[in-house]
């Protein structure tokens, strides 16, 4: 009984959220949710669709043609050329795109390489597909960069894909073009798929020459039969609750993913597809506004961590709305683990953070803090953390 799911775990992030719900005064830096509401223009687009009575029926399985057409336009502005009719599927968020992609390209027992640390749910989806997640450590000393040697060593005859999140959750790393091309070279050599989850690509805090810039392997024409790129509207447009995203790749791959997508959800929710249309039509300024705000909050959280430099060290994130500080001095030394640290913060001062172990073995000794929260929440959370540390 329950063989397929026996090795699945409820994500540690969700476990922390359940624990945090016991304390009504909790400030949660755990959830990966932007503090903003969905922009008004997007809501208006949805209202219009509701009034026109166009949201009650299924769309074509790959999604509304007008949305896919706009996605193609938006991709072409980022130097990625995909046919909206055959190479783009609108999905119920990124996680459905990931699930459908992995189910389509793998066979049971296949291995998929994922960075360590990276987003918690990757592991679960890979296990659900009957495959084996293989954590490949990132190089913390080099700002959580890919360690290509480690990747080389991790590849076996069973390896089917290299799966990563760029920019990376929880470290906020933007992988460089050279690092990504290094992965692509390995993929070519060993005939592997490259699954690139790029849901944070719009939050980039580096704009100086020489600083890392966002680059996608989907921009390389020669890789189009290897790269499966995933995007979600959740983060960029403050639409986490709408559950809408998309996947694009070469026709030969999308054709197969579509079969799984059809089995899983038939089509993405139509009302959310209209919201996504609104986002692409009118959301440019909102993305800019969110990006500026997150940059301010990143600077704030870094300055608050600087004051606690006897307890934390950190690598300044260049993207996302997460920071991944390392705990270097812990008040509960006997039971040290990132889990225990997170539970202590929650139980003692009602601040929720995600234990680093949630993101892979290399994440131990770290915690993930979200600066998607308002400045007020960030300040209050740190005031509480400082108090408990002062009391030591």
């Amino acid at each position: 009984m329950f063989n397929r799911v026996k090795n699945l775990k409820l994500s540690i992030i969700k476990q922390i959220e359940i624990e945090a719900a016991k304390y009504p005064n909790t400030i949660s830096l755990a959830q990966g949710i932007p503090s903003f509401d969905t922009p008004e223009g997007i809501k208006k687009r949805v209202e219009n669709a509701l009034k026109r009575g166009v949201v009650a029926k299924y769309s074509l399985s790959p999604g509304l043609p007008e949305l896919r057409e706009l996605i193609e336009v938006s991709l072409s502005r980022e130097n990625m050329f995909y046919d909206w009719q055959k190479e783009i599927i609108v999905t119920a968020g990124a996680i459905e795109a990931i699930t459908a992609s992995i189910l389509a390209i793998t066979e049971p027992e296949d291995e998929i390489l994922i960075p360590d640390p990276t987003y918690t749910s990757y592991r679960e989806v890979i296990i659900l597909a009957g495959c084996k997640p293989i954590f490949v450590p990132l190089d913390e000393e080099k700002g959580w960069a890919f360690d290509l040697e480690a990747y080389k060593k991790a590849i076996t005859p069973k390896t089917k894909a290299i799966f990563y999140c760029n920019p990376n959750n929880p470290t906020g790393t933007i992988y460089t073009r050279d690092q990504l091309l290094g992965l692509a070279e390995l993929a070519e050599k060993h005939n592997l798929f490259l699954i690139s989850d790029e849901v944070y690509k719009d939050f980039i805090f580096t704009n100086q020459p020489g600083q890392p810039q966002i680059f996608s392997l989907a921009e390389i024409p020669a890789l189009r039969q290897r790269v499966i790129r995933i995007f979600s509207f959740s983060k960029a447009y403050a639409m986490t609750g709408w559950r809408i995203g998309y996947v694009h790749s070469d026709e030969s791959i999308i054709r197969e993913i579509l079969k799984v997508h059809d089995c899983l959800v038939t089509c993405a929710p139509i009302i959310s597809q209209y919201a996504a249309l609104g986002a692409l039509e009118m959301g440019e300024n909102d993305i800019r506004r969110f990006n500026e705000e997150f940059k301010k909050r990143r600077d704030l959280i870094c300055s608050r961590l600087d004051k606690l430099n006897n307890f934390f060290t950190y690598i300044r994130p260049n993207s996302t709305y997460f920071i991944f500080p390392k705990i270097i001095n812990y008040f509960n030394k006997k039971n040290f683990s990132s889990w225990q640290f997170a539970l202590d913060l929650l139980n003692k001062i009602q601040v929720a953070v995600v234990p680093g172990i949630a993101f892979g073995p290399k994440g131990e000794n770290h915690v993930r803090m979200s600066f998607g929260k308002s400045e007020k929440d960030i300040n209050e959370a740190f005031a509480r953390i400082e108090k408990i540390i002062e009391a030591l």
């Binding site: 008004e40 223009g41 043609p65 007008e66 057409e69 050329f81 909206w84 190479e87 020669a222």
Partner: protein
């Protein structure tokens, strides 16, 4: 309140645009159809610019009763902000005195409910009218397919006498509409009966290789974009480029 504001805005922008078009008299290429308008528009602009022809289109798909005037005025939408709309409203009349008004405008015409086309064509008089494709998209806002098709029939009917119609031969609905008026019509499509025929020769990692046949002339093109709709866009833009060059706009 919002409906009243929208109506006032719609007519305010319409009449300012009519004055501008009367003064500057640009050559207008109007693109209608259920899909592929934006790609056709981009390709036309790109080919005309390659030839050094001064053409303009709004990068966004502004193609509705308010969007079309904004595209001509080269002004942003206020979307949901009254303050932003106020700024647009104040800037609109200033555009009348714009010195370097483009010689050619490439405009999308979007229809999502009955009589939309009538309103859009009360603003502009196209010199070239293109229908890219007609599908069931937006059908939900019409009583039936007949009502949707009537919008495109109106488009063809209202084309000025000297204008050119560029129509998709592969679409039976569009093909049947061609006889509605006596304008010059050029068909594009994959069919060998089209005046300008496209054929996909090869698709690989670097794009599509296309053979274009027009009369006795045959030429190969490479597109880095994928999909039949880009072959249609190429055909449309080649027809437009040749016509505009001959007319010496």
């Amino acid at each position: 309140m919002k409906i009243v504001f929208k109506k006032i805005l719609q007519y305010y922008l319409k009449y300012i645009v009519k004055i501008i078009l009367l003064i500057h008299r640009p050559f207008i290429i109007a693109i209608a159809g259920s899909s592929n308008k934006i790609f056709a528009k981009e390709k036309i602009i790109s080919l005309l610019k390659e030839k050094g022809i001064d053409a303009y289109s709004n990068p966004k798909s502004f193609n509705t009763e308010i969007g079309l005037p904004l595209a001509i005025l080269d002004l942003p939408s206020g979307y949901n902000s009254y303050a932003d709309w106020l700024s647009t409203v104040l800037k609109a009349p200033i555009q009348i005195f714009k010195i370097n008004f483009p010689k050619i405008l490439v405009l999308e015409l979007g229809i999502s409910s009955p009589a939309d086309m009538k309103f859009l064509l009360s603003i502009i008089k196209p010199d070239i009218g293109v229908i890219t494709q007609i599908t069931s998209r937006y059908l939900e806002s019409f009583k039936n397919i007949g009502e949707l098709l009537a919008e495109y029939e109106y488009f063809i009917k209202k084309m000025p006498k000297e204008s050119l119609l560029v129509l998709n031969y592969d679409n039976l609905f569009i093909r049947k509409m061609a006889n509605i008026n006596k304008n010059k019509v050029l068909f594009f499509g994959f069919s060998d009966k089209a005046d300008w025929q496209g054929k996909l020769l090869k698709k690989d990692a670097f794009g599509q290789k296309i053979l274009i046949r027009h009369g006795e002339k045959k030429e190969e093109y490479n597109l880095k974009k994928y999909g039949e709709h880009h072959i249609y866009s190429l055909l449309i833009s080649l027809i437009v480029k040749e016509y505009v060059s001959k007319k010496e706009v």
